[in-house]
Amino acid sequence: MSQNTPSLYEQLGGQAAVDAAVDIFYRKVLGDDRISHFFEGVDMDQQAAKQKAFLTMAFGGPHHYTGLDMRRGHAHLVAKGLDDSHVDAVIENLGGTLRDLGVAEGLIAQVAAIAESTRADVLGR
């Protein structure tokens, strides 16, 4: 990326955008019957912190995720039946969150593409 083009993360609004998105996104995910059962019994504050890390990554921001982390972090969910349909649901909720925040479709597509790129690792393939 050239020096004067703002990064995707900057265009979205950086850390402030992540802060604005995390409650909306987590609420959508928890309220989505297709995937809410994966979140049963987990500590909400810890889970919100994880959602924040995920959003930062999907927004193209600074993160420390590796493919291996993704595999390890989701292995217990894959064992519980996590599959493509659930990843689809998460990406859909991500798009819905950004739409709620009034983000342009072009940027939403870029975020969805980053989330999409983790699919194989998340599903342990």
């Binding site: 987590y26 609420r27 309220g31």
Partner: protein, 328 residues
């Protein structure tokens, strides 16, 4: 696996083992109570090596900066050299000034601290029983309104510390306390924000403190307190709360009974369900949950789905420790 160095000895942790279990399993007397990273009884300090941030959740910044951590939730990835905090670090003594049965098996304990205790109503302190058992109790008193620190201790069948409080503690006796800790309290600065407070059993203790603190600080937004129990006897302080609601038009007290039928004057149903049924839209509200861990977990989630921001949800789960503690 990481190793722990304590008092010139080396302790190898097994996979998944916490620092607390690793040490107490080998006979090191580290105090503990909730074993869930809440009560801060198992506070330790690392003098070499950085404890994981997950083991510092809820600690004051000044403690974090000095590498204090909670041993029961500490799963280190590097070797640590650890010490127990100086006994004086955050402990002090207090004299029991009053013991009053409030009904519902709840004893109000009034404590006079020997040094001023800087607390916010709704925070909790840890109470040490002479024999080394420690338990957390929330603070129901308000500085400026009450002379002493008030705790509401519910008697549990076979409970060691609550049994001791009810059966053996006497006015005039000296006890050791630690704290205060916790972020379940009324934050100043948003006097118009609607407040929803939901508690079961002795979970009323912090809420009783928070409500009176908010009123004393001139809170002008609506304040709604829902207190739940199985039977009417469990709804202690009901007269005081009804009188308070009479005096303040913006304060509502809703006693709830979870049993099959509720007499006149009570709402019927589980307390968090009644509260969320009455108040289905919680955008912009501040919400407090205290008491039964299941109720607190479910309530938090429902309040969040009803629109409350996570940073506006405060909660204390009154976790009760295991029946027998290893090494005790």
């Amino acid at each position: 696996m990481a190793a722990i160095h304590y008092a010139d000895q080396r302790f190898e942790l097994e996979p998944g083992q916490s620092v607390l279990d690793g040490l107490t399993g080998q006979g090191v007397p580290v105090p503990s109570s909730c074993r869930a990273g809440v009560c801060q009884t198992c506070l330790m300090r690392s003098t070499e090596g950085t404890p994981p941030t997950a083991a510092q959740h809820g600690l004051k910044d000044s403690l974090k900066a000095r590498n204090y951590f909670l041993a029961c939730v500490c799963h280190p990835t590097q070797d640590l050299r650890v010490v127990l905090p100086d006994a004086e670090e955050d402990r002090q003594t207090a004299t029991v000034r009053g013991l009053d049965l409030l009904g519902g098996g709840i004893m109000r304990v009034a404590l006079e601290c020997h040094a001023p205790l800087d607390y916010r109503p709704g925070q909790f302190i840890n109470l040490f029983q002479g024999t080394g058992q420690v338990r957390s109790y929330s603070i129901a008193s308000v500085p400026g309104l009450d002379d002493h620190i008030h705790l509401h201790v519910r008697r549990l069948a076979g409970g060691r510390v609550s049994g001791w409080v009810h059966g053996e503690l006497r006015p005039g006796q000296t006890v050791t306390i630690q704290g205060p800790a916790g972020d379940c309290y009324y934050p100043s600065g948003t006097p118009g924000q609607p407040l929803l407070l939901i508690g079961t059993g002795s979970g009323l203790a912090p809420l009783y403190g928070i409500v009176r603190d908010a009123l004393a600080q001139g809170h002008c937004g609506p304040i709604r307190l829902y207190h739940g129990s199985r039977a009417p006897e469990g709804l202690y302080l009901a007269e005081e709360l009804r009188a308070l609601a009479q005096r303040h038009a913006h304060f509502d007290y809703i006693p709830c009974l979870s049993g099959p039928d509720a007499p006149e004057g009570y709402a019927q149903g589980r307390v968090h369900e009644v509260a969320l049924r009455d108040n289905p839209k919680l955008d912009g509200w501040r919400i407090f949950f205290c008491g039964h861990p299941e109720m607190v977990k479910l309530g938090k989630k429902k309040a969040f789905l009803a629109g409350a921001a996570l940073r506006n949800i405060h909660a204390d789960e009154f976790t009760v420790g295991p029946a027998t503690e290893p090494g005790a």
